[in-house]
């Protein structure tokens, strides 16, 4: 590749990388693009009331496992006196409470905070082929007929399963269906029946239990869905309607034939699952999610720094935006200033003082500083000591202004402490040289030019969303860098040059 085109590639690459990281964070990690967006979080609580019978008591509760749709951000157990162990397997988690003896009713709590998570998780391992059901007549023949019929109407596992559920759902009049449908009412029973029919075709299936996180519910109902293995992946079906796919609000809790809770040495009095919606800021949520996932990309944000450090870097990361403005103003508009990037630093200082007060303060300090500088010139100090004297005078001026404004009850003076005094001193020095060499008019014009550039840079860096972006999406600076690289190869006219060379545009040559 020729060097002359590399900048295009580099620029596009930077913009793309920045954009992709940004997009990844927004789409996959759920970081809100704009500040102050709220999103929902669910508190799911299982409450198990047991009544001891005799001897040691054991109680087990299946816990939600990581699966597509939701992630558990936080969980806790309340189980006074009980010993608690948690069994973790790939696709099964179980809490076991145990106590040697129990003298009365006891309530055990499990509480999980759950957030939406769009990442795909494997649902379960590759299943084994189920044995075909061993049935007596007339069921065996009926099953054969039934499978034959459904097979005719379907093309693959997916449509086969859908067809079965459809038939069950519509309570087919066909005799071979009827004999199976007898007594089958609940979705769970539908699902079990469908499993049997699928097994006849050697299609593995699994029951999936979960709850709907839709709104606050005191006593949530456990819904059962049917997962069917199509050879590559698990397909979820609603056994009641035959509809395929996981409803968005469906949080998978456990799989298989187990019951949610089981006890020994006691009786289950009540098992209650409650759901409560809680609104949190999306940002908080996204960073929580990032932590859970341990996502590298997600860690590229200032949120993981201590708060004080955050605010320092926030300012630093805003600088490129200010610099971008300066590049535009200098190379496209054609403005000039004292010190290439001094306006950016002045603009940063304006953040502390607000624009109008900042401008007034700047003008006040610079003009007072100039007066002193002209006096120092008469003393014939050497360059560096003179500069040092100007810096000191600027500091003293700022202190004086602070004290004065404190007296007058305004706070601007106090916030001025960050005003870049060295930069101001350099501006004073440069201005006084230009003043002597090229006259007061030029000097004041260039001084005001610097101020104008600083104000424009300030207006850009004070855009709220930028401050938020550099904190949460520091990668936007890669985009800025890409833009700067691209702008760096702009060799066309500057706006002011159209005016400057206007006489050369008047006629043909």
């Amino acid at each position: 590749m020729t060097r002359s085109r590399q900048w295009v590639v580099l620029s596009l690459l930077l913009i793309m990388v920045g954009g992709l990281v940004f997009a990844f964070k927004v789409v996959r990690l759920g970081y809100p693009v704009f500040p102050d967006q709220t999103s929902e979080q669910w508190v799911v609580q299982a409450r198990l009331r047991i009544e001891p019978v005799k001897g040691p008591v054991r109680a087990s509760l299946l816990l939600p496992v990581r699966s597509t749709g939701f992630t558990i951000s936080n969980e806790s157990f309340v189980s006074r006196d009980f010993g608690l162990t948690i069994q973790e397997e790939m696709f099964r988690r179980r809490a076991d409470w145990a106590i040697r003896s129990l003298d009365g009713d006891r309530t055990l709590y499990y509480r999980a905070t759950v957030i939406k998570d769009m990442r795909q998780h494997r649902f379960a391992t590759r299943p084994e082929i189920p044995p075909p059901p061993q049935l007596e007549e007339p069921w065996a023949t009926a099953l054969e007929d039934l499978v034959e019929e459904v097979k005719k109407e379907s093309a693959d596992v997916q449509s086969f399963a859908a067809e079965i559920l459809d038939h069950l759902h519509e309570s087919s009049d066909d005799a071979s269906w009827k004999i199976f449908m007898e007594g089958v009412e609940s979705p769970l029973e539908h699902a079990r029946l469908a499993q049997n029919i699928l097994a006849a075709e050697q299609i593995p299936s699994k029951l999936v239990h979960g709850i709907m996180l839709r709104h606050d519910v005191q006593r949530a109902v456990v819904d059962t869905m049917l997962a069917v293995w199509d050879g590559d992946d698990w397909l979820l079906f609603d056994p009641a309607t035959g509809q395929q796919g996981r409803p968005e609000e469906f949080m998978i809790w456990w799989r298989g034939l187990e019951t949610l809770a089981s006890v020994s040495g006691a009786l289950i009095n009540d098992l209650q699952i409650s759901v409560k919606k809680r609104m949190t800021s999306s940002l908080e949520l996204a960073s929580l999610r990032t932590e859970l996932k341990d996502s590298f990309v997600g860690r590229i944000s200032l949120l993981h720094l201590p708060v004080q450090t955050q605010s320092v870097y926030e300012v630093l990361l805003l600088v490129p935006f200010g610099i971008l403005v300066i590049v535009l103003l200098r190379n496209f508009i054609g403005l000039s200033s004292f010190g290439t990037f001094a306006p950016v630093l002045i603009a940063l200082a304006f953040r502390e003082t607000e624009l109008l007060k900042g401008i007034l303060l700047f003008m006040l300090i610079v003009s007072l500083g100039l007066v002193f500088r002209f006096y120092l010139e008469r003393l014939r100090l050497l360059l560096v000591p003179r500069l040092a004297a100007v810096v000191t005078i600027v500091v003293l001026l700022m202190t004086a202004i602070s004290l004065l404004s404190e007296r007058m009850g305004t706070e601007t003076g106090l916030s001025v402490s960050l005003f870049p005094m060295v930069i101001i001193s350099m501006v004073i020095e440069r201005m006084s040289i230009v003043w002597e060499e090229r006259g007061a008019a030029t000097s004041i014009r260039e001084g005001l030019g610097s101020l104008l550039m600083a104000s424009l840079a300030y207006l850009v860096i004070s855009i709220d969303v930028l401050e938020y972006w550099v904190t949460v999406f520091p990668e936007v600076n890669l985009i800025v860098l890409g833009l700067i690289v691209a702008l760096g190869r702009y060799t066309g006219f500057r706006l002011t040059e159209l005016f400057r060379f206007r006489q050369l545009a008047a006629r043909d040559s």
């Binding site: 040289i433 060799t491 066309g492 006219f493 500057r494 060379f501 206007r502």
Partner: protein
């Protein structure tokens, strides 16, 4: 605005971005910049090539030297103090006369000994140098400009700026000091730029700031149609600077001394673009013409001959009675 843009483009006007991006960055190798940015070094280099320059009286490198003016200045009564790394004419002090305890500058103003010492310390301290680096003050003999320019200048020394592109002199102008420029020949300080026909050395039109002028504001003399003496020597000296500093896009500043003829005052690696306004011509077409010649290097004589033929417009019609 769009039409202005199109017209500027078709007239081949060179903008700053284009000058920087397409010419200076590509043709001016950074390692040769010190040769022009350091005026002491530049002078030595030009002398090695037998190019005439104003005589260097002394170089003040240390602050202490500022207070030993006698040793520094010898018995010179007129001289120019310049920062070796100065830019845009800043920090240049022209002394025309020396009395027992004070000096007289180009405006005829009094300069006390202490003022002069202070100026030297400022220069050495780096007040005028690019980037504020400590600098060196050079003391140069004063040029007595050719009386040919008498009516065309207000104090100060007029100089001739030639743009040398890859060794070919492509455009030139005369810079005439004015009252506003305090005797300095820098356009942004208020000097007038007057375009010069490459073939004949006859001035064609002028510019003050960004405005066209045809009469010197202080002397009232007509500034167009004036033939610059020693023109062929001026152009040839400018062209030979290319061999001395190897910069492909170069501004050569030449003064005409009454006694020594053309002297090279300084070289500039980032020459300004007002020369286009002074000449009422864009630079681009001329640069393109040089580029079209290919890469082979010609002798300076051949380059000058080609350039004068190519860019000369033989505007003898403009020739008016010289003002002297």
């Amino acid at each position: 605005m769009g039409s202005v843009l199109a017209q500027l483009r078709s007239n081949g006007v060179l903008g700053i971005n284009c000058r920087n991006g397409e010419y200076i960055l590509k043709l001016n190798d950074r390692r040769y910049f010190p040769l022009v940015d350091d005026k002491v070094l530049c002078k030595e280099r030009l002398q090695e090539r037998n190019l005439a320059v104003p005589e260097l009286i002394a170089v003040a490198r240390y602050m202490q030297q500022a207070s030993h003016l006698g040793a520094l200045l010898g018995n010179h009564n007129e001289f120019v103090i310049k920062p070796a790394h100065g830019s845009g004419g800043d920090g240049i002090l022209v002394i025309k006369d020396r009395k027992s305890d004070y000096f007289v500058d180009s405006d005829g103003k009094l300069v006390l000994r202490a003022d002069l010492e202070h100026h030297l310390t400022n220069v050495i301290g780096g007040l005028y140098s690019l980037g504020g680096q400590p600098d060196v003050a050079m003391v140069e003999s004063l040029v007595h400009f050719d009386p040919a320019f008498a009516g065309l200048t207000y104090h100060g020394v007029p100089d001739i700026r030639v743009i040398v592109y890859r060794g070919y002199p492509v455009m030139a102008m005369v810079r005439l000091p004015t009252r506003e420029s305090h005797g300095k020949a820098n356009l942004h300080q208020g000097a007038i730029g007057v375009g010069v026909d490459m073939a004949s050395g006859i001035t064609v039109g002028g510019v003050s700031g960004n405005n066209a002028v045809s009469v010197h504001p202080d002397t009232g003399s007509q500034i167009t149609g004036f033939r610059i003496p020693h023109w062929s020597r001026i152009v040839s000296m400018a062209a030979r600077c290319f061999e001395a500093v190897e910069l492909g896009y170069l501004g050569v500043d030449i003064v005409l001394d009454e006694e020594h003829g053309p002297l090279i005052l300084e070289l500039n690696a980032r020459p300004g673009l007002n020369i286009q306004i002074a000449n009422r011509r864009g630079l681009r077409h001329r640069l393109d013409a040089v580029d079209a010649l290919g890469q082979g290097r010609q002798s300076p004589e051949r380059r000058v001959e080609w350039a004068c033929r190519q860019f000369g417009e033989s505007r003898v019609d403009l020739l008016s009675p010289a003002p002297w």
